[in-house]
Symmetry: C2
Subunit: 355 residues, 2 copies
């Protein structure tokens, strides 16, 4: 078992150190190798996804990813900006299935901006298609508008697209995940306006025939955004495209009020995956030792479960995190009166101790 | 002053009756003519936007629109479904600027699923571009995938696009609206991934040079969805494209917990507009006399202000609505213990009495 450790920028290195600590404490003999990515990749090798980093990620059995992005790199041309690293890894490694749980830990219920009765016990799994849609569709660019009332002007354009097989495989992931949970899938689309998503709806409906034991509901994306605010607990598994998933998974994460707690997995067809916290690189607090490492530690747990079949060890980590929360330890982002404020490495040490 | 009255489907006719009542009570001698639209248009003339309806809408100085959609029409082919009426009206009338206020009335603060301190006093104006983007871009359809790993399979596809002039005019609307409010504009895009929205960001930044007195901030759409949940009161005016606006404006409306209260305006370049409630046709409660007519009544007020320059009369209606809320009258959707439950027409009568 070999994993690529890609800490990245901002708080990435600090939170990664804690996840590595936890993995080492497990003593499963996992081999780890580090490489630069994002702004750090650009600084070291002139590209956010250096060749050596990509090669390491390809060879490894899984990738543990911190976060990318920093003010310093905001003015670079788009192809060199840190976020290209994550887009490149998804595409090059074929990581088409993004699993993002939005779970509210009972101890952190107060952190949500929603009323406790609306979110207590929240447990949604958002499954976002990650290598198709308007993210990678071609043609795209800036051109002269060919016709219509704006003919002759410059226009920006992109192509949204989903092929049959792309929809089919993510639908299977969703239905299979639902079987291990509440057996309900909400497929989110915009079939009333977009050809891509009318097609999406048709294919998801076809795949559903293989899963008569799972309930399928179709919902328009605007309505889904409303229902997430109105009654989020009604959802079990949500499956959607890359663009809608980007928006809805962040909204769902924010419902919990503690995005510093939420891991994510991005899987390929064989179960190889990239694991990363749902939050960003938070350059404003980088290097201060105050970042919350729990989302990264929980991402490592997801890695053990999905890529290495080590479900028991994954559960050990998850239980350790729960114990640490129950002990009242909190990094500043989730700190509340009556709990104990700790820093990044104290939090990591506490999880190791609780293992 | 002539207005086209398009009640539509579901609760549309009931709520429209109340808005008409209020307009008549004002006694401004506004001429009104009715026509069928949506499912009702299809039932009467075989098309959701019958020629006669479109012609009336063109001739009128403004359009007051109820809502469209009903289960009965769900199985029609897409081109005949009710929502094509609203898409057709937007396109045919050139209604490119959709103004959707998300306001929390102090009396209804309890209706929100968010904590009172997060939403009390909420007052956001979302300005959504309404005739461009992936809604109308071509080519679109279902074809054989030309290349890549899915070559040869069927794929659905759409084109996202924005021309320079389209972005420019909606940016002007946003900056001008901000001057009458908090002088802050948040332009929401996905410039880190989409060519269309990198171009959008560039053009909005250019237009901003004409408005040095207004603050401009750019925000990615996923972050905007999070900030709407986390700290919605930080926003003043949000301007965005058609697709992102569809999602964010519904999410913002739901923050208030009382979407039955929220009006909207869709304007063309000369100030002619279509006015409609932000909520849908709610076929499940149609015909029962329980629908909330206030969003439609407030849409009529927006019409007086934006299309007829009758700001004083618009304010009279808005004040009457506030008075009725202060009196404790509530339709079932906003009813709470300690307030008086009333039906659709009682609510309309109360607003007339409060004028
Ligand atoms: C950084 C950006 C390209 C990325 C995305 O849009 O997918 C991010 O928002 C995410 O969700 O991982
Ligand atoms: C009915 C549908 C086509 C429409 C849209 O997507 O614009 C609706 O959701 C809206 O926001 O008015």
């Amino acid at each position: 078992m070999k994993i690529a450790i890609l800490p990245g920028d901002g708080i990435g290195p600090e939170i990664m150190d804690e996840a590595v600590k936890v993995l080492q404490a497990l003593g499963e003999g996992i081999e780890m190798e580090r490489a630069e990515v994002g702004g750090a990749g650009y600084a070291a090798h002139g590209h956010p996804l250096p060749q050596a980093t990509l090669q390491l990620a390809r060879q490894a059995d899984a990738v543990l990813f911190g976060a990318v992005g920093d003010y310093r790199y905001d003015t670079l041309e788009r192809a060199l900006r840190p976020e290209q690293a994550i887009l490149g890894l998804r595409r090059e490694l074929g990581l088409f299935a993004n699993l993002r749980p939005a779970i509210l830990y009972p101890e952190l219920a107060g952190a949500s901006t929603l009323k406790p009765e609306v979110v207590s016990g929240l447990d949604i799994l958002i499954i976002r298609e990650l290598t198709g849609d308007i993210y990678f569709g071609k043609p795209r660019g800036v051109r002269t508008c060919p016709d219509g009332p704006f003919a002759g002007q410059r226009e920006g354009f992109d192509t949204m697209r989903y092929a049959d097989g792309e929809i089919r495989r993510i639908a299977h992931v969703a239905f299979q995940a639902a079987r291990k949970r509440g057996r309900r899938v909400t497929s989110v689309d915009k079939a009333n306006v977009l050809e891509t998503f009318q097609f999406w709806r048709d294919v998801v409906t076809e795949v559903h025939a293989d899963y008569p034991d799972v309930e399928l509901e179709h919902m328009y994306v605007d309505n889904a955004a409303m229902q997430l605010v109105r009654a989020p607990k009604k959802f079990d598994v949500i499956v959607t495209g890359n663009m809608f998933g980007d928006i809805l998974s962040d909204a769902a994460a924010m419902l919990t009020g503690s995005i510093g707690m939420l891991p994510s997995a991005s899987l390929d067809a064989s179960g190889k995956g990239l694991y990363e916290p749902s939050h960003g690189s938070a350059p404003d607090i980088a290097g201060q030792g105050v970042a919350n490492p729990l989302a990264t530690i929980l991402s490592a747990a997801m890695m053990l479960r999905y890529s290495f079949g080590l479900a028991e060890q994954a559960t050990r980590i998850e239980d350790a995190v729960k114990r640490v929360l129950a002990q009242g330890l909190r990094t500043p982002d989730i700190h509340e009166p009556g709990t104990r404020r700790v820093g990044t490495s104290d939090m990591g040490d506490a999880v190791v101790a609780a293992l």
